[in-house]
């Protein structure tokens, strides 16, 4: 993979890399992150079904909350954050 084929996005302010065609789930996992939501204090959540059914992997993408990480392709410059709504 050449450098120009890599796209960049940020997660909670931290720069991360992805390949075109990556979903947010695969990019976050590849970047070593397996949880990206706190359901309540001390209760980390991440990927569960991977099929768009359970909505456990939701996060905030470019200011929109409740976006399913498993169903969202990474775009260059995407601003991703921990989900704002519980």
């Amino acid at each position: 993979m050449r450098a120009r084929d890599v796209i960049r996005f940020s997660f909670d302010g931290v720069q991360m890399l992805a390949y075109p065609g990556d979903t947010l789930v695969s990019a976050l996992y590849a970047g070593g992150k397996r949880s990206w939501r706190k359901s309540r204090p001390g209760d980390e959540r991440g990927l569960l079904c991977g099929m768009g059914i359970c909505f456990d992997c939701v996060l905030s993408v470019d200011g929109v909350s409740n976006v399913r990480a498993c169903q969202t392709l990474v775009r260059d410059g995407m601003v991703v954050a921990t989900n704002m709504v519980s």
Binding site: R34, R45, G46, L47, L48
Partner: protein, 461 residues
């Protein structure tokens, strides 16, 4: 409002087959699919950069897809259908906009989803359903380094093989059913289903050559970890899937994959008002259909796993039959429809026998619904614990609707897809009824959450 002749909902093998059959008969067909590329879970397409690594299913899917496109089917991707009314008006929503669409005939091919089941620790990151594992592997990303697979069914073997080939270590595959003791293998039902057994066998051999233990009659009792999975307790299960005391063992792993079978996604036919019935051998609640797979709402058909778990071949055949018939109803017929339908029917009968055996062998036992502690979360959306569910039932909630109104199970984002089965089984057990007697939760639009912005774009004129 736009009106189509035939709308097929769902781009998996069943939906593609229905669309192709109808289009070949001469009908004008629109296929609406939720994902970026049609194919469903079975034909799930890899990202472009990994296209050269496509596996057999993916290559087959590419072929089918180009045939479907060549037949003139219009494909609408990344669009969810969130409601259907009995007059065959659909509420569709793409990521940006919601709109209404009418059709003369609707074929629902919405597929199935994996049955999640709670156990202590199951909300820890690293506990995934097999679909979650496959999603990562499709992108050439590993879910973890040491994976424990638990649940039931041959899908576990396929996932184990995929994990091993991708470079992960599979600690063990726990099959909750004892298989050999349960119903025995019935040769007549297996006879002729070679392609179906070949994949399982091939996966099994990969496991064996890599020294992965396949433990019949074992299951997970608890997942351990603080911020993510670091291990699990497993135990021998009795025939009802209840752990046998004193057999517990500790396993070190960073990932746990669960496979508890599939649930038909019947919400769309249900929301349209089609009558449903409880059929455990078909995966639970499914629409009642006639011999052409038409639901009790005239002109609305339901085929494939969403109308009763039958797997890939069954979905394809049901789709073909419904596609031919729906087209004929609109006056389109290139070859004699009756002949084609008789032919498909005889193939369906053979597969049906195999499917019944399969459902018999690989069903989670009642103990699978009791593997919880008081503080185990049952409803992941609303963080409702098992203790709270039990208390609601003890204090007088006697129907799924009462429980829902009381403690909000199935009111969250997932619309009960994760917790409703567990709630039903708990209610059934505590009230001494069967799940069939209790009935399912009602379903209300939208089937998937819609943002207010998207909803506001709906032009109801």
């Amino acid at each position: 409002m736009e009106e189509s002749e035939i709308i097929v909902i769902g781009g998996g093998p069943g939906g593609l087959s229905a669309a192709l059959a109808a289009a070949r008969a001469g009908a004008q067909v629109t296929l609406i699919d939720a994902y970026a590329h049609p194919g469903g879970q079975y034909y799930h397409q890899p990202p472009e950069r990994l296209a050269e690594h496509s596996n057999a299913h993916q290559r087959q899917g590419q072929k089918v897809l180009s045939t479907v496109k060549a037949a003139g089917v219009r494909i609408v991707s990344e669009t969810l259908v969130s409601s259907i009314s009995p007059d065959k008006t659909l509420v569709c929503n793409s990521p940006q906009v919601a709109y209404l669409q009418k059709a003369k005939r609707i074929i629902i091919a919405s597929g199935a989803y994996e049955q999640p089941l709670p156990f202590p620790g199951w909300t820890l990151p690293g506990v995934l359903m097999t679909g979650g594992i496959q999603t990562l592997l499709h992108q050439h990303v590993l879910p973890g380094k040491r994976v424990l697979l638990t649940g039931t069914g041959p899908l576990q073997l396929v996932v184990a093989k995929n994990l091993i080939q991708a470079g992960a270590e599979v600690v063990a595959v726990l099959e909750g059913n004892q298989l050999i003791k349960s119903s025995g293998l019935r040769a007549t039902a297996m006879w002729g289903q070679w392609e179906r057994m070949a994949e399982g066998l091939q996966s099994f051999l990969t496991m064996m050559t890599n020294g992965v233990p396949y433990q019949l009659g074992w299951g997970i009792v608890e997942a351990h970890g603080t911020n993510e999975v670091t291990g699990a307790t497993i135990a021998l299960l009795d025939q009802d899937w209840r752990p046998v005391k004193g057999t517990e063992q500790e396993v070190i792993c960073d990932t746990i994959g669960t496979a508890y079978g599939f649930v038909p996604f019947n919400s769309l036919s249900k929301i349209a008002g089609a009558q449903q019935a409880w059929h455990p051998e078909l995966g639970g609640e499914v629409p009642i259909r006639n011999e052409y797979f038409e639901t009790t709402i005239p002109g609305i058909y339901a085929i494939g796993d969403g109308a009763g778990i039958g797997g890939f071949w069954m979905s394809e055949m049901e789709g073909e039959l419904a596609g031919i018939w729906a087209a004929k109803q609109l006056g389109h017929e290139k070859q004699p429809a009756d002949v084609a339908i008789t032919h498909v029917r005889s193939r369906i009968r053979r597969k049906n026998r195999f499917q019944r055996l399969y459902a018999d062998l690989f069903n989670p036992g009642p103990g699978a619904f009791e593997m919880v502690k008081d503080d185990t979360i049952v409803c992941r959306c609303e963080n409702i614990t098992y203790a709270r569910l039990r208390e609601a039932i003890l204090t007088g909630d006697l129907t799924p609707q009462e429980i829902k109104n009381d403690i909000r199970t199935s009111m969250g984002r997932c619309q009960g897809r994760v917790c409703s089965r567990m709630v039903l089984h708990t209610l059934a057990r505590m009230s001494g009824k069967t799940v069939a007697e209790i009935g399912m939760f009602g379903v209300r639009p939208p089937v998937f959450p819609l943002s207010i912005g998207v909803l506001a774009s709906l032009d109801v004129e």
